[in-house]
């Protein structure tokens, strides 16, 4: 509960900061400090020190898994602030409000990871979505950003409607919103429950851009300002994924026969569409949008497997995918040309930055010794343990091989081609942060047990 209340309060604080400070630097420092405080508060919560004693009347339950995942989310957001907060100034005049909205989104993520009641799931998803529509359209002079925001809003509002309909049907079938008290096993033949569960499944798939509900993703990620694409493609996506897993693991495990095969088909379709389309992209930003679809396909493996390894794997995936993608977007927002050609010869102009990009790309592709490899390995292992979906595992490995093509294309452009400098410069501090992310990625890849040890401690 520490993190939920504090992040909401910090959002209000950032709101006031917008008229208390005339310059931008104190706002940025306040936001970074606030995020650090949030991190400490959440770690203390994990250790059993609660600042607030709230009786949640059975609406929220903060398990160790949820709290640990929240720590990852906050740490990733802190890294995101350190590397990208300066670039947020370029978006528009409402600098402090952007931070306030990000703090509110975090509140939504904490709710979605800890809900035990469908009402909270709905409110949490909405708290995540509405600020995102605004952040997508925050570059008001940019037509592409306007289009992306409108598209995202219309599609998102529609999928929220489908979700509400699903929740209503489930309420009709079970008579409760509480996912721990639903007694699904007694309702195996209920068409009402199945229809509601499918609607919930579709709307959640939309929110995490699973094919064939992914059509908004490339346009929205491409149109939104770079810094916010970085945030919503990573932290928000894995946050909703944990809620997705929590929902189906707790509520619908008893009727797994009805949906598991479809989950596997969706995962395979997402991998196929995401990877094959990413191969044909000319812009690195758009390529990353499709790559985020294909990575979502891998994360969906956790919902096919539904076991302990899947839970651990999703955590590792969250770390690996967030760190690498935040790093790449931190660099892209300092480039003047986002196409593959823009990266030509970057190794000659900026050797350190190019090295970092190479490590991020290797991790995204899942090359051994990186966190990305271990994350993919855990996902595949989870599905094998669950049994019965060997075809999905083989298909996943094949698609991971396809994904190496477009990730390596960036590395090839940087190291083996010549071109003018499209990089607008980077401060020494940001270089340190980039190197820090690289170290974290390699460290997680080498010693994942330290992270799990911390989780179960």
């Amino acid at each position: 509960m520490n993190a939920v209340l504090l992040s909401g309060l910090l959002g209000v604080v950032m709101m006031f900061a917008s008229f208390l400070f005339r310059t931008k630097a104190p706002v940025r420092i306040l936001a970074i400090l606030g995020m650090a405080v949030l991190l400490v508060a959440n770690v203390l919560d994990t250790k059993g020190i609660h600042f607030f004693h709230v009786n949640t009347t059975g609406f929220l339950s903060f398990t160790g898994y949820a709290l640990f995942f929240n720590t990852i989310v906050i740490a990733c957001t802190l890294i995101f602030f350190l590397i990208s907060s300066k670039d947020m100034q370029k978006v528009g005049n409402h600098y402090a409000e952007y931070f306030a909205l990000i703090f509110f989104i975090l509140t939504g993520i904490f709710l979605v990871t800890a809900f035990t009641n469908l009402l909270i799931l709905f409110i949490g998803i909405e708290i995540i979505s509405i600020p995102l529509y605004i952040l997508t359209g925050s570059a008001k002079k940019d037509l592409k950003s306007n289009e992306a925001a409108l598209k995202y809003f219309l599609m998102g509002a529609f999928s929220t409607g489908v979700m509400l309909m699903g929740i209503a049907l489930i309420y009709g079938a079970t008579g409760t919103f509480d996912i721990t008290k639903m007694n699904i096993a007694g309702l195996l033949k209920s068409n009402l429950l199945t229809a509601g569960m499918l609607m919930l499944l579709f709307s959640m798939c939309f929110k995490v851009s699973i094919a064939p509900f992914h059509f908004w993703t490339p346009d929205v990620y491409d149109g939104a300002p770079n810094v916010f694409t970085s945030f919503m493609a990573t932290i928000v996506k894995v946050g909703i994924f944990v809620g997705f897993l929590h929902l189906f693991y707790t509520a619908f495990d008893a009727i797994a026969l009805q949906w598991k095969i479809w989950m596997a088909v969706l995962a395979a379709l997402t991998l196929l569409v995401g990877n094959i389309t990413a191969v044909f992209q000319q812009s690195v930003k758009r390529m990353l949008a499709y790559s985020s679809i294909s990575q979502a396909g891998f994360m969906l493996f956790a919902l096919v497997a539904m076991n302990e390894t899947a839970h651990e794997g999703l955590l590792l995936y969250a770390i690996a995918y967030c760190l690498a993608t935040i790093g790449v977007f931190g660099i892209i927002s300092k480039m003047t040309d986002y196409s593959f050609d823009g990266f030509n010869g970057l190794a000659g102009h900026q050797p350190l930055v190019a090295l970092c990009v190479a490590i991020f790309m290797l991790s995204l592709a899942g090359i051994p010794l990186s966190a990305g490899f271990l994350a993919k390995f855990y996902m595949l292992k989870a599905v094998i343990q669950a049994g019965g979906y060997m075809w999905l595992v083989i298909f996943g490995v094949l698609m991971a091989a396809v994904s190496a093509y477009y990730y390596f294309r960036v590395i090839q452009a940087m190291y083996f081609k010549e071109g003018p400098n499209h990089f607008s410069g980077i401060s020494a501090f940001e270089k340190c942060v980039l190197v820090g992310i690289c170290v974290l990625i390699v460290f997680t890849g080498l010693f994942p047990n330290i992270i799990f040890g911390w989780m179960y401690f």
């Binding site: 009347t57 528009g92 005049n93 409000e97 708290i127 925050s138 008001k140 009402l192």
Partner: protein, 166 residues
């Protein structure tokens, strides 16, 4: 058939008829008017279910505020002319098939949910009254109620960010 049941069927016919008008009418202004009529008819249903608060809120918020806003937007943007854009034929066919499938699923889902008791609940049950609703909202449902304030606050900030002059 007593008078309340008659009222129920009358309201149902009005609601479904005006809902059909929303999707079939070519003129957007008629669609909006149809939507307002639907809201009123559904509010009538709420009253028959002894849920006065919901009925009043439905009229004030939806029929009152949101629909008037809708109407203004349509009138100001001068969308009242029937401008039918030429749609892809395949898209129409696929849309019809998808819509029918959804309809089939919903029918299948709802076929077992016959109304076992009365159609209307006049004078029985007090859950829909303002007093009991307020008590529930501030005791059992106080957590989601308070949390939704974050949602509204973020929407307000969003309105400022999007609407304020640069």
């Amino acid at each position: 058939m007593n008078i309340t049941q008659l009222l129920f069927w009358l309201l149902t016919v009005i609601a479904i008829g005006s809902a059909l008008m929303i999707v079939t009418s070519k003129n957007p202004v008629y669609s909006v008017l149809g939507l307002i009529v639907t809201f009123f008819a559904i509010s009538g249903h709420y009253i028959l279910m002894n849920a006065q608060f919901l009925a009043i809120v439905n009229i004030i918020v939806y029929a009152g505020a949101i629909m008037v806003l809708f109407l203004f937007v349509i009138m100001l943007m001068n969308l009242s002319r029937a401008t039918e854009t030429l749609k892809n034929k395949w898209l129409q066919i696929v849309g019809a098939i998808a819509g029918s499938c959804l309809f089939l699923v919903l029918i299948a889902a709802l076929k077992n949910t016959e109304i076992k008791k009365n159609l209307v609940e006049m004078g029985t049950g007090d859950i829909g009254l303002v007093k009991s609703l307020g008590r529930e909202l501030f005791t059992t449902f106080v957590v989601p109620f308070e949390i939704s304030s974050v949602l509204f606050l973020s929407a307000m900030i969003g309105a400022v960010v999007i609407g304020k002059k640069e």
